[in-house]
């Protein structure tokens, strides 16, 4: 027996949740599907390929005040930012849930990033299994799958006009609307099969490819914008700046990326990654070498956003193939 909820009841449940807490869900905005705060369940888009931006924005906002410093009666007070309100993030696909699990590793390892931890703790993740794979998708090569419930609190899988409900955590179970859920004999349809990418052994092969001229040739066409990093569910770098005015100081962090020219420029002007090739290489070494060496799995989840949106078609799937070939050649 499986638990199911009808499409109509799902919307009623979401309407109920919107009344109780912040609900972030995919919704239309100028022809794009983006995760945003919704105030009506009817605005939520249930069938979509993938949002333009990943849901990481809900946990690591584009910009966020870390703390404020103010003068009060001659004293200087430092007030850390806090986030308290309960939140539901609805509609993320398993690749994006895996993306959150990837970012958790550096940001929740002690000493944890306090604000990120608060955002994560207050949020329940309700995911949607994918009913089809886009031409850019390759999640099954990156340790997750279109129907993977493992990094979510609840996974919904569409079957005709209903959804199979799988609550995998206590947090998820606590949120389920028992009055709207029925028991059923239905089984989930087989998940779609995204394209496979040869990731096996890539970490070892990457070790030998660092000095290859491949990277500078690839970087010829790279524009060195931050687009790939900003649409990516696993990129988590940021910059910090203080905003000072008469009222006090705000310390703000905003997304930043290894592709931007000033990212590694040090005081005095020295830059350990001064060339386009060195910067582009860093992106792929972080995901396919440094991250797995530290944390035991690849730092890419195969959502395909960078493949789809890169203005000059720098395609990580192609790079993995090319590096495997380079590795095979050097063994001969």
């Amino acid at each position: 027996m499986t638990q199911i909820i009808s499409r109509q009841d799902l919307l009623s449940w979401l309407e109920r949740l919107i009344g109780e807490r912040i609900v972030i869900a995919p919704a239309q905005s100028n022809g794009l599907v983006l995760f945003q705060r919704v105030s009506r369940a009817e605005d939520i888009v249930l069938d979509f390929d993938n949002t333009v931006l990943s849901p990481k924005e809900s946990f690591l906002p584009l910009s966020e005040v870390l703390f404020t410093v103010a003068k009060e009666n001659g004293d200087i007070k430092l007030m850390p930012a806090t986030v308290a309100e309960e939140m539901v993030l609805f509609g993320l696909h398993p690749c994006d849930a895996k993306g959150m699990a990837v970012i958790d590793q550096p940001l929740l390892a002690a000493p944890a990033d306090d604000l990120y931890q608060q955002h994560r703790a207050r949020t329940t993740l309700i995911g949607l299994a994918c009913s089809q794979a886009g031409p850019e998708c390759f999640c099954t090569s990156m340790g997750t799958a279109p129907d993977d419930p493992s990094n979510l609190d609840i996974l919904l899988t569409r079957v005709n006009d209903s959804y199979i409900v799988q609550a995998t955590t206590e947090k998820g179970k606590a949120l389920l609307p028992s009055d709207l859920i029925a028991q059923s004999e239905v089984t989930a349809p087989p998940p779609p099969s995204p394209q496979a990418v040869p990731t096996e052994g890539i970490v070892e092969v990457m070790r030998g490819a660092f000095e290859s001229p491949y990277w500078s040739r690839l970087a010829d066409r790279c524009l060195h914008c931050n687009l790939c990093a900003y649409v990516c569910p696993t990129c988590y770098c940021f910059d910090i700046r203080d905003y000072v005015d008469e009222g006090g100081i705000e310390r703000v962090r905003s997304w930043e990326s290894c592709q931007s020219p000033g990212f590694t420029r040090l005081a005095g002007g020295y830059d350990p990654r001064p060339t386009k090739g060195a910067r582009l290489r860093q992106r792929f070494y972080h995901k396919l070498s440094y991250f797995p060496e530290h944390f035991g799995h690849l730092g890419c989840v195969g959502c395909g956003r960078c493949v789809r949106y890169c203005p000059v078609n720098i395609d990580i799937r192609e790079i993995i193939n090319d590096i495997q070939k380079l590795g095979a050649q050097s063994e001969c």
Binding site: S29, N30, G31, L32, L34, V52, L53, L62, S63, G134, P135, E136, R217, D220, R221, L223, H224, C225, N226, L227, A229, Y230, V231, D239, R241, Y243, V252, S254, W255, E256, S260, P261, G262, K276, V307, R308, Y309, C310, P311, V312, N313, D315, R317, E318
Partner: protein, 288 residues
């Protein structure tokens, strides 16, 4: 016809690389979706068979000339792209003898995103006035008679007709989506500053905060820095992941410069740029 263009480009490229007249050809190859195009840097005669030209070749490759200014390169240039080459020459960013321009008579570029082609011409191509490049060293394709577009600024005029408050709220809504990835800047052949004002620390013109005031500041200054310089290739808008209609801003300024100075950027490498030129007899129009 387009297979003919590809063949002619390949032959010229092979000749230039074989004779070592250039170090590299900047052209187009098929993208990883098997449908659209992407930039190709061909260094060896063996690479030239990857070169293509068709109606998906949207990129303005002149954007790469500043990166390659220490080499001698050949570039495949559509008419709009060759206007950007003129702009870079007029602004002394590249040396004429180091750039060999393979101009292409342009059939117009279709709307496409990765993995998807729409057969409709891009809006900028529907408004095109030059199907033959204004400058080139070698021309591919047969020039045809030009028909000037009807009402090229109709959408700009619609926006101009709105009240200040309406325009403000329109742009506030558009800029609110900006994630400040700077893909618009990086795709632009006219944005070649070694350090962009937005990243300068001393003085700090605009902070890193992604918020309405900072986003608006970024977009206004970006557009103004391109006033009288933008050649309307619209690569900025194409690169934008969140569909901000940058062409509206760019073309508003293009229209103003056309009306005030009777000037369109990039038609000649010798032209004086109106906003970078001071003439003693010019009056500032501020009651002097």
């Amino acid at each position: 016809m387009q297979e003919g263009l590809t063949q002619q480009i390949r032959e010229k490229a092979r000749e230039l690389l074989t004779s070592a007249a250039v170090d590299c050809i900047i052209g187009y190859e098929r993208a990883s979706d098997g449908l659209t195009a992407r930039p190709l840097f061909a260094y060896e005669p063996n690479d030239v068979d990857k070169l293509i030209f068709d109606q998906t070749c949207t990129h303005n490759l002149s954007r790469f000339l500043v990166d390659k200014r220490d080499s001698t390169v050949a570039i495949v240039a559509k008419p709009c792209d060759s206007r950007a080459v003129n702009l870079l020459l007029a602004e002394k960013q590249i040396q004429r003898e180091r750039v060999y321009v393979i101009g292409v008579v342009c059939p117009g570029i279709v709307e496409a995103t990765w993995g998807q082609i729409n057969d409709r011409l891009q809006a900028r191509c529907q408004l095109c006035r030059e199907h033959t490049p204004p400058m080139y060293d070698f021309l591919v394709g047969e020039p045809t008679a030009e028909e000037p577009p009807v009402e090229p600024y109709h959408d700009v005029a619609e926006l101009e007709a709105k009240s200040v408050a309406e325009r403000q709220s329109f742009w506030a809504e558009q800029f609110a989506r900006c994630i400040r990835c700077y893909a618009c800047r990086q795709a632009c052949p006219g944005c070649y500053c070694t350090e962009c004002f937005v990243e300068q620390l001393d003085p700090q013109w605009v902070g890193i905060r992604v918020a309405p005031a900072e986003n608006e500041f970024w977009h206004i200054i970006r557009a103004f820095h391109l006033a009288g310089r933008c050649i309307a290739c619209n690569e900025c808008e194409r690169a934008c992941p969140v569909n901000i209609p940058l062409s509206l801003l760019n073309r508003k300024l293009e229209k103003d410069v056309l009306e005030l100075f009777a000037f369109r950027s990039g038609l000649s490498a010798e032209a004086l740029l109106p906003l970078a030129t001071f003439k003693k007899e010019e009056r500032l129009g501020m009651g002097e």
